[in-house]
């Protein structure tokens, strides 16, 4: 049976701390993914989503290096290094998977055939602009990977990120100060504090970590938030 969001919350939420853990963030996002969805999971935190997808729904993971229908990580000792995900971890294939080359893989992404891409971010702007590839620091080695292609091509771009930077600044901002990955592409944010939908320049709160008030969330967020109806 599918867990309800409330059950999920109660099961995984520690009482004391008012934020979701990384595993809880991934699980919270995973619970919103519908049957039949084609998903791409970015390197890093987004990869964790794969471990929490509802077992009773068929969901297809697309991986940029030419896989549709990726399964869980390979058990230790059984790794096949010819079968890796975007983070270069050895994985398995689900029955029904297919393999293809890089140009076909990015044609799939760029052509709008991936329903949801989950990606990390340094900053997200109220209008959906995404900054996730460079902090612009001198001497930093830049790296884009497939992020710009996914930002341009996925039907929905869901950002999975901490709500604030280590120094406490909101990562949801009026306007990104870091170099952009894509314009007006983020449709939803899953942070350790809340789930927020971005649409037409409005940020609507769909869920808050249990125990935190809307006012408190607003205080920690650099843009005006709206409450979802109902």
């Amino acid at each position: 049976m599918e867990q309800t969001k409330t059950q999920l919350r109660e099961a995984v939420m520690p009482a004391a701390e008012l934020k979701w853990t990384r595993a809880q963030m991934a699980a919270r996002l995973a619970s919103d993914v519908q049957e039949g969805t084609i998903m791409n999971l970015g390197v890093g935190l987004p990869t964790l989503v794969g471990n929490h997808l509802p077992k009773d729904r068929e969901i297809l993971i697309q991986v940029e290096n030419g896989i549709l229908g990726a399964g869980p990580n390979a058990p230790k000792g059984e790794e096949d290094w010819d079968l890796v995900n975007a983070g270069k971890q050895a994985i398995q294939l689900l029955p029904g998977a297919s393999l293809f080359h890089h140009a076909d893989s990015f044609a799939m992404m760029r052509g709008g055939h991936v329903d949801i891409c989950v990606i990390g971010a340094y900053q997200v702007a109220l209008n959906g602009d995404l900054a996730n590839w460079s902090t612009g620091e001198p001497g930093a080695i830049p790296a884009i990977g497939g992020a710009m292609d996914l930002a341009a091509g996925a039907k929905e771009l869901w950002v999975l990120m901490e709500h604030s930077t280590k120094s406490g600044e909101s990562k949801l901002v009026e306007r990104c100060s870091y170099p952009l990955t894509g314009l007006a592409c983020v449709t939803r944010i899953y942070s350790d504090l809340a789930v927020i939908a971005l649409k037409d320049g409005r940020a609507t709160v769909l869920d808050i970590v249990p125990g935190m008030s809307f006012a408190e969330l607003q205080k920690r967020t650099a843009v005006p938030l709206a409450q979802a109806d109902g």
Binding site: N65, L99, M109, R110, M148, A152, T181
Partner: protein, 231 residues
């Protein structure tokens, strides 16, 4: 009789000149033709432009080629790796040029070279630093950036099986950039773990048709674990 099989990686790369542009397959270690890269290190060509998804891992393969200061320019999507220290050092010292290309643009620009396309409008990177100075256009309400093909002198690729005509099949996600790169170079050199008789590969399942391969070398199969990115 057409016979593209050559005896060694050394022989396969003997004619690489200084200044060559070289496509190198692989995604991290998977499908990376490391034996060919090692032969290229030994071969000695300098001032190379390399096109590959990453800029080397650890002290071997592309990383070793970079460490030996044989690479003038790197075109890739994701140079930053936990163990890309050789690239990192030379890049910070200004001793290697970097053209950072979004991964899908990299694949599509290589495909365009193989497919005789002069240029194409892609939505990727519109409005970002990567598109600065590039031609843009609005088509049916979407914004696009004009990108050009990446033609190469050599493509070094890794496949699983091949025949003397040059037909190739790959293994799992070791396929990645290899079939696309095979189409875009003047001289494509492929390593395989097995050479089969002509006609043994099912025509339905050949991934790289023979026309795209110029030289084929058989190499032993060695399992090399890959450095995973930290999550």
């Amino acid at each position: 009789m057409i016979n593209k099989i050559v005896a060694s990686t050394t022989e396969a790369l003997a004619d690489v000149p200084d200044g060559a542009t070289i496509l190198i397959g692989g995604f991290g270690g998977a499908g990376q033709p490391i034996e060919l890269v090692e032969a290229l290190i030994e071969q000695g060509a300098r001032d190379l432009t390399l096109v590959s998804n990453n800029a080397g891992n650890g002290d071997t393969g592309i990383a070793a080629l970079i460490a030996a200061k044989r690479v003038r320019k790197m075109m890739c999507s994701f140079p930053r790796q936990p163990d890309s220290w050789h690239f990192d050092r030379l890049y910070r010292a200004g001793e290697i040029e970097l053209e950072l290309v979004p991964q899908g643009n990299l694949a599509e620009r290589i495909r365009a070279a193989g497919a005789g396309i002069g240029a194409f409008f892609t939505p990727t990177a519109y409005g970002t630093e990567i598109a600065q100075g590039k031609e843009t256009r609005e088509i049916n309400g979407r914004h696009y950036v004009l990108e050009y093909p990446i033609h190469a002198d050599y493509a070094l690729i890794k496949a699983e099986k091949g025949d003397r005509w040059g037909n190739l099949v790959y293994r799992r996600s070791a396929r990645n950039f290899n079939p696309v790169m095979a189409t875009a170079a003047r001289i494509t050199v492929a390593t395989v773990h097995e050479i089969v008789e002509l006609g043994e590969l099912d025509p339905e399942t050949v991934v790289t048709p023979s026309v795209y391969v110029k030289r084929l070398v058989k190499i032993p199969k060695v399992v090399r674990p890959i450095t995973a990115l930290k999550v």
